[in-house]
């Protein structure tokens, strides 16, 4: 059928006009339903979330706990939590937030509502994973595992939880924020992770399980448990792949221990510090592998590392009994010698007893050789014939090469890695001669040298001034000796009975001793007029920064002391600044009952001095001191008591002398 062109045009015109009108009419219709329909993507994603959650729900169980839970004080686990099926015969993992290895009375509620008693079988505490076993009547639904290699940052993730109860699990939706977080233990998500879903699965959009949700801590943020992080847009899951890899060991009843190497670094800064070894714990895997002071770690199992954080990232995921290969740089040659050692990690280090020689070095600017100021008459150095004025040039352990001694700190680090009773040789310069002296180390002791041992010939003049710092309301008062250029001073922080701000009258008794022994005495005031509190500590830290700007501080001679209530606080300050405070003097005071005495560690020397007043000392106080001494013995921490009871005036001279000797080598 053919139309004439005119007809064609007319038909076309009619069609076009008709189409226009119809389109406009339908477009004009008010209200247009199409306008408010959800975008197709949003609706599809919502459906996907719900389907994925349905798939994951089959392997998600509720955990009910009577009695002891894992949660800390104000983070109540509330008795209900979530768990994830890992084996169809009844194996379930949950997080140690709700259940610990010691918990009795655990019930698992399956998705069908049935309750089953559960036994705690194994655990991986470093990853906060606990393994439970029930006897289900029918096999449980095992989840599909999402492989770590397939994970993509930015993909959808869902957290399921059963802590709120109900038939369907709660859903929290977010994205995968990062992989390989929390020292390699977990993946990170921004879905809302909280006690509502700890122990439950983190799913991908297909309903496969990426990992088990757990409160892994972010230590750089100063957290203890990790459960402080809920509501912050950050949460962690332990990859299911990793859990399955160690499942047989947990099923066999093991509590997996994190592997320990036994080293400490010269830098305290984990993030930017370089991995140069300060000490290796005697008897540890590091010591057995021959790792020693001055070595620098450059690779772990072939992976290059440049910072302490890098080493830690590699080692934190290892278990005890695993072997690691460490590549080290050693020595002063150029290029430095490179060697590779193997170490088998352990779950605990042998108890450590710090060795010493009994030498008090002269306070000299950094970079100067070690000169003996005083030798403890009952110590190994005295027995070996070392005397005041000798210069220590090098130290040689049995079977090793002589290591040059560059500074007091370096000698301390060398000694710290040795055992008590170890035989070594010191190369000592006396006058023009160099002597080769055999010495045997002895256990470290807490000493108060006699007055002439460490005193300067003439006492230095002192300045009494406040250590002002930004945002510090009550700056501490400091008695600062004016020493020669570059000569470092020791520090003694003294906490008297809490009275509010400190006055110059309080500082006067310290004037002479500070100048005589080169010790800066810092006297903090308490914010509250009648008690010490933790709020007093941050201001103290800032004041110490100000002190460092006044003159060089010798880190081996930093101590704190306290009288009566101040003594308890002195102990807490030492705990808080662990490693930086080398001695605590408790004058008419005792170790707080709830504080733990830290186990002795190389690189963190600590000694304790007791002092009792002449008046007001009761038998109860004496028995309390004996208890404290027992606690210190158990932790291998050396201690001593001031020979004379004091009073009414504080023994400032004895305390300053003791402070100057806490760094005794």
């Amino acid at each position: 059928m053919s139309f004439s062109s005119t007809t064609r045009r007319r038909v076309l015109a009619a069609a076009v006009v008709g189409w226009n009108v119809a389109a406009c009419l339908s477009g004009m219709a008010v209200p247009s339903r199409a306008a408010a329909a959800p975008g197709p993507l949003e609706a599809a994603e919502q459906r996907a979330f719900q389907v994925a959650a349905e798939r994951g729900a089959a392997s998600t169980v509720r955990i009910e706990v009577a009695g002891e839970t894992g949660a800390v004080a104000d983070q109540d686990a509330g008795g209900t939590s979530t768990g994830l099926v890992v084996g169809s015969e009844g194996w379930i993992v949950t997080s140690s937030f709700a259940v610990t290895e010691r918990t009795v009375g655990v019930i698992v509620v399956l998705p069908d509502g049935s309750r089953h008693a559960a036994a705690v079988v194994g655990a991986d505490p470093a990853r906060k994973v606990v393994l439970l076993k029930i006897d289900p009547p029918r096999p449980l639904v095992e989840p599909e595992v999402a492989a770590k290699a397939d994970l993509q940052v930015g993909q959808w993730t869902l957290g399921l939880g059963r802590a709120w109860g109900g038939e369907t699990p709660s859903i929290a939706v977010g994205v995968l924020s990062a992989v390989d977080r929390s020292w390699g233990r977990g993946v990170q998500t921004d879905a809302s992770i909280s006690p509502a879903n700890y122990g439950g699965p983190l799913l991908d959009i297909r309903g496969r399980v990426i990992g088990m949700l757990a409160p892994l801590a972010a230590e750089s943020a100063g957290m203890v448990t990790g459960s402080e992080l809920y509501d912050a847009g950050i949460g962690f899951a332990v990859p299911l792949e990793d859990i399955m890899a160690v499942l047989p060991r947990m099923q066999a009843g093991e509590t997996l221990a994190a592997g320990i190497l036994g080293i400490s670094y010269t830098s305290r800064d984990v993030m930017t510090g370089e991995p140069v070894i300060a000490t290796s714990h005697p008897g540890s895997p590091a010591a057995k592998a021959g790792i020693r002071e001055g070595d620098r770690i450059v690779a772990v199992d072939g992976t290059p590392v440049g910072r302490i954080a890098g080493v830690r990232h590699q080692l934190a995921v290892r278990y005890a009994d695993e072997t690691v290969r460490l590549t080290l740089e050693r020595g002063d040659s150029d290029p430095r010698e490179r060697l590779t050692v193997e170490a088998t990690l352990v779950d605990a280090l042998p108890p450590y007893r710090r060795p010493m020689l009994g030498i008090l070095p002269v306070a000299v600017p950094e970079g100067n050789p070690v000169e003996v100021a005083w030798v403890w008459p009952e110590g190994p150095a005295a027995q070996a014939g070392i005397a005041a004025g000798d210069r220590l040039e090098s130290l040689q352990t049995t079977g090793g090469q002589p290591r040059p001694i560059q500074s007091g700190e370096q000698l301390a680090a060398l000694l710290a890695s040795l055992a008590v009773g170890e035989e070594l040789r010191l190369q000592v310069r006396r006058g023009d001669a160099v002597l080769d002296v055999p010495v045997q180390t002895a256990a470290a002791a807490c000493l108060i040298p006699p007055p002439d041992a460490a005193a300067a010939a003439t006492p230095a003049p002192v300045n009494i001034e406040p250590l002002t710092a930004p945002e510090v309301a009550n700056p501490p008062l400091a008695v600062i000796p004016e020493l020669e250029e570059g000569v470092p001073m020791g520090v003694l922080i003294h906490f008297g009975p809490p009275r509010g701000a400190v006055t110059k009258d309080d500082a006067e008794p310290w004037r002479v001793a500070a100048g005589r022994y080169g010790i800066a005495v810092v006297l903090p005031g308490s914010n509250e007029p009648d008690r010490w509190s933790r709020d007093d500590l941050p201001g103290l830290a800032r004041a110490m920064e100000t002190l460092r700007s006044r003159g060089a501080v010798d880190p081996s001679r930093v101590a704190c002391s306290g009288e009566a209530a101040g003594a308890t606080f002195a102990w807490l300050a030492a705990e808080t600044f662990a490693g930086r405070i080398r001695g605590v003097a408790l004058i008419d005071g005792s170790i707080p009952r709830r504080s733990e005495v830290p186990q002795a560690e190389p690189g963190r020397p600590l000694s304790v001095l007791f002092g009792r007043p002449a008046e007001g000392w009761l038998p109860a106080d004496a028995s309390r001191q004996r208890q404290d001494e027992q606690r210190l013995d158990d932790a291998f921490v050396p201690y001593a008591t001031l020979p004379e009871p004091f009073g009414p005036v504080l023994p400032t001279d004895d305390l300053c002398r003791w402070a100057g000797a806490v760094g005794i080598l």
Binding site: A13, C24, F49, A66, G105, H116, A163, I171, V173
Partner: protein, 398 residues
Amino acid sequence: MSEMRPQTIPVQRVAVTRSWLACLLAFVVPGLLTADSRWACGSDVVIEQAARTVVKIYGAGGFRGLEAYQTGFLVSSEGHVMTAMSTVLDSEEIDCVLDDGRRFAASLVGIDPRREMALLKLEAEGLPFAPLDGGSLEEGLARAEGGEAADGGPEGSRTVGASTGRGQRPAAPGTRVYALSNLFGVAVGDERVSVQQGVIAATVPLAARRGAYEAPYDGDVYLLDFTVNNPGSAGGLLVDVQGQPMGMLGKELRSTTAGIWLNYAVPLAEVAASFDMLLSGRPAETDAMADVLPFDTRRLGFLLVPDILEKTPPFVEAVLEASPAAAAGLREDDLLVAVGSQSVTSCAAVAEELARIDEGEPVRVSVIRDGRIVDAVLGPRPAVDLPALPEPSLGETL
């Protein structure tokens, strides 16, 4: 939505080739002219509709811990605003700023202490509102523009079809939602309120407190997987991605069971019931929950271990001979884990749950014995208010 009229194209005068071109354009142009409604992404339309009903509220406060602002939303075209009951409303002057920037002084019509909601009234007409009867936001806007009152009938005759209205099914976990509120008061001046998005995590009964103050409402709430417990968020509007109002954002509360801060919204049905009650001026419902006397387990013939810890695990200390407990097979050292279907993790919880069982109903318990769960039925629950039993001394045998 466009209302332009496109022009019909005069076909007769053009040449053949140009007429084909014209035809092509003719198909495309109408589509373009009505494009904004057909091709728009759904969410920005929904958010636009929702935001127009949300109101910024300013009142009393402004010192430490108590902010002077919060959020509310219009529920009628004559200016009824539902919001959260809080100290912000403790003011002589309550100001409301609408989405279009207009400011109104609001009067407080009433407060609902159980649901912790309040009703304000602005003097206005034709305002966009969020329907409480199951209608979508779009319908609400249409009704407002069409000059209808909230209910389409004389005031006072409204029926709130809360659970029977369209779209009032309880929302399933995973439902995507938007929350609109003036969190942290960042929307200053005439700015529109803020939008957050996430999903409904779960629907659970509220058990919460703020400090020592226990929240009086214990009905169901929507727990959300994003952070809405911010200063200023309370009273905000929760909608789903289809433009259906879902509820009112809750206050800053901690869960009594888990100790964590809750992010929740009160479902629309409760907001509707509260509005209904406040509008009609009926006195607030007193929650006639009888004081639940703790139940003494000795009436069933067994004794739990002394409740001396904060949460003492409910182990059975002793069972009386020839008692309902003995007949049911309960034994010393059994650990109670459930009363009925409710799990119990402390002695206090056991007493509470037993008291909830109606008098005369059988008492079902589950215990752990030798690593297994055992169920037992302890006979009919006796009355609570019998004469008190003498206090046992520790170590006494029944």
